[in-house]
């Protein structure tokens, strides 16, 4: 037992060091985001911020004023919220229907949804972006329908897996009490499925918020940029890239995510686990 204690001490020290190394890349960006533009070079990225090279919050102000950060953040937020909300409502209803109404069409639909989870995006990127352009799905407000179509696979699959475990008697009782299917769904089924809503919501949010290629190809790029597009645009940007404001942008992207993560850590981790077990 004494040996166990010693091993635990050693492990604790080791993991502390490893954790520090793990967050170092983010700390590095944080320090660089406070440096003056001229002092940011490839070989000095590891240097600490000192009174000599500090620029205060100038980079952050520049990022907010000039680089279109706020607009991109807003578009990302709108796209993520509308898409995830739409996916949650529509796919849970669809999954319930598919499981409860057993016929050939619902079976085919189910297998098509499952199949779509496997197909890589490159397979349809050209045809999908073409269709989005001709049908007018290239704005941040309409793109959520494409996300609904593309994200339906995972969502329907996870919801259907859960619906199968709900005893039919509960819903039959509601029907006998005079509920129509819509009432049964919203008053009886939806509350039971709450944990699945949280899991699916988290997985889809992580996907939509960070997605780069789909909005890049589908959105009208001259008018709308999401956060990943903005960051990539800096990189491939024309002329001199302003490094300082870019670091500030990255920090402003990371900080809200980290805060959200620390607040709802339990749900996020549970969501990941249930997604993995079913996927």
């Amino acid at each position: 037992m004494k040996r166990d204690k010693v091993i635990n001490k050693i492990l604790a020290v080791f993991f502390t060091i490893l954790s520090l190394a793990w967050i170092y890349p983010m700390v590095m960006i944080l320090m660089n985001s406070f440096k003056e533009e001229t002092t940011i070079t490839t070989s000095t990225a590891f240097d600490f911020v000192t009174s000599e090279n500090s620029a205060g919050f100038a980079n952050y102000i520049a990022a907010l004023e000039k680089q279109g950060f706020l607009a991109a953040f807003g578009y990302s937020l709108v796209i993520t919220i509308t898409s995830v909300a739409l996916i949650l409502v529509c796919c849970s209803m669809c999954a319930w229907f598919i499981v409860r109404v057993k016929n050939r069409i619902s079976n085919i639909l189910y297998y098509l949804f499952v199949f779509s989870m496997v197909v890589p995006f490159q397979m349809l990127m050209f045809t999908l972006s073409n269709m989005a352009n001709t049908l007018g799905f290239n704005t941040p407000f309409n793109i959520c329908f494409i996300y609904l179509g593309f994200g339906a696979g995972l969502a329907v699959f996870m919801f259907a897996g859960f619906v199968k475990t709900i005893p039919l008697e509960i819903e039959e009782a509601a029907t006998i009490d005079g509920c129509n299917p819509l009432q049964t769904f919203f008053h009886v089924v939806l509350p039971i499925m709450k944990p699945t809503y949280i899991s699916v919501g988290i997985l889809e949010t992580m996907w939509v918020w960070n997605d780069y290629l789909l909005p890049y190809l589908v959105l009208d790029r001259t008018k709308y940029q999401t956060i990943p597009i903005l960051i990539q645009y800096f990189r491939g940007g024309y002329g001199r890239v302003e490094m300082g404001p870019m670091f500030a942008c990255i920090m402003m992207v990371i900080v809200p995510i980290v805060i959200m993560y620390l607040l709802c850590q339990r749900y996020i981790i549970n969501g990941v686990i249930s997604g993995a077990v079913k996927g």
């Binding site: 796919c91 490159q122 269709m131 990941v272």
Partner: protein, 284 residues
């Protein structure tokens, strides 16, 4: 109840089914058809038979991207799973302090998107390379490969660790107790009790890391963008570049043909995985 529900299908199924039709089914079928055509826009497509596939298979860059991706998937899968399992085993030890905060830290990179991750590591690796006096990422394909591995490790070890921890915690404590009473040491417990009971979790994690490795795009684009001279270009990026970075009408069709090949490849991996899981379920 099912009968009554059936009449409500326009409300329950139609929104999802319509979006799925336009967002997935039609582009999928169209994409499949276009892989046999020469085109710039969809309306001027002319069937050319298997020409695109012949061109795709004889494109040395595509072959190069395939082997590069396969090697990357192999190395990253092994490293991620070994490290994630090792960390998970250590973090599930009794009386180890701070396990929750370690878990929190290791998982964090997953929430940051691939583009941002790639960019952060691009700066970090370039700085390290310039201090050591090596060539930067844009000219250094060895650094490009290991940089990608490092980045994926940083991102995915935490994710897989979470899944392994859940798997370890679901092993009944009687098993471990019984092993202890029988006088098994830690090494024996690991190989004879923990790993056999963890097989389904290991299959899931292997599958996730292999498919992630093959489908990787954002990180590849942001870290190296395939530089130098397409040497670090993976399959997904190669397809993207065939579509959008090359001039001339024939490349669109070839890109689509490559996408179909890529799609079939991914489907095959998934089928193998499904079969592996099924056969193991029968044994238990």
């Amino acid at each position: 109840m099912a009968k009554m529900l059936k009449r409500w299908w326009p409300l329950f199924v139609l929104p999802t089914a319509l979006s799925f039709l336009f967002g997935f089914m039609i582009p999928f079928v169209q994409g499949f058809y276009l892989s046999f055509c020469k085109f710039i826009t969809i309306s001027d497509a002319k069937p050319v038979g298997l020409d695109n596939y012949v061109a795709a298979f004889s494109d040395p860059q595509f072959a190069n991207a395939f082997w590069y991706t396969a090697l990357f998937a192999l190395v990253s899968t092994v490293l991620i799973n070994v490290l994630a399992l090792a960390i998970a085993l250590a973090l599930t030890r009794k009386d180890l302090k701070g396990t929750n905060s370690f878990r929190t830290v290791f998982f964090m990179p997953n929430l940051i998107g691939g583009i941002v991750l790639g960019y952060i590591w691009n700066i970090l690796i370039n700085c390290a390379l310039s201090i050591v006096g090596e060539q930067l990422l844009a000219l250094n394909s060895t650094a490009g490969f290991w940089g990608m591995i490092l980045l994926t490790l940083w991102q995915q070890v935490g994710y897989m660790m979470i899944i392994y921890i859940a798997g370890l915690q679901s092993i009944p404590s009687d098993y471990l107790e019984a092993a202890r009473v029988d006088g098994a040491n830690a090494w024996q417990t690991l190989w004879k009790v923990k790993i056999p009971n963890l097989m389904s979790t290991i299959t899931i994690c292997l599958f996730l890391t292999v498919t992630n490795g093959f489908k990787l795009f954002d990180q590849n684009l942001a870290l190296t963008a395939g530089e130098p001279k397409h040497a670090t270009e993976m399959l997904a990026l190669n397809i993207y570049n065939t579509f959008y970075a090359r001039q001339g009408a024939k490349w669109m069709g070839i890109g689509q043909a490559k996408a179909v090949i890529f799609c079939i490849l991914v489907i095959c991996i998934v089928m193998i995985q499904l079969r592996a899981t099924r056969s193991r379920e029968v044994q238990q």
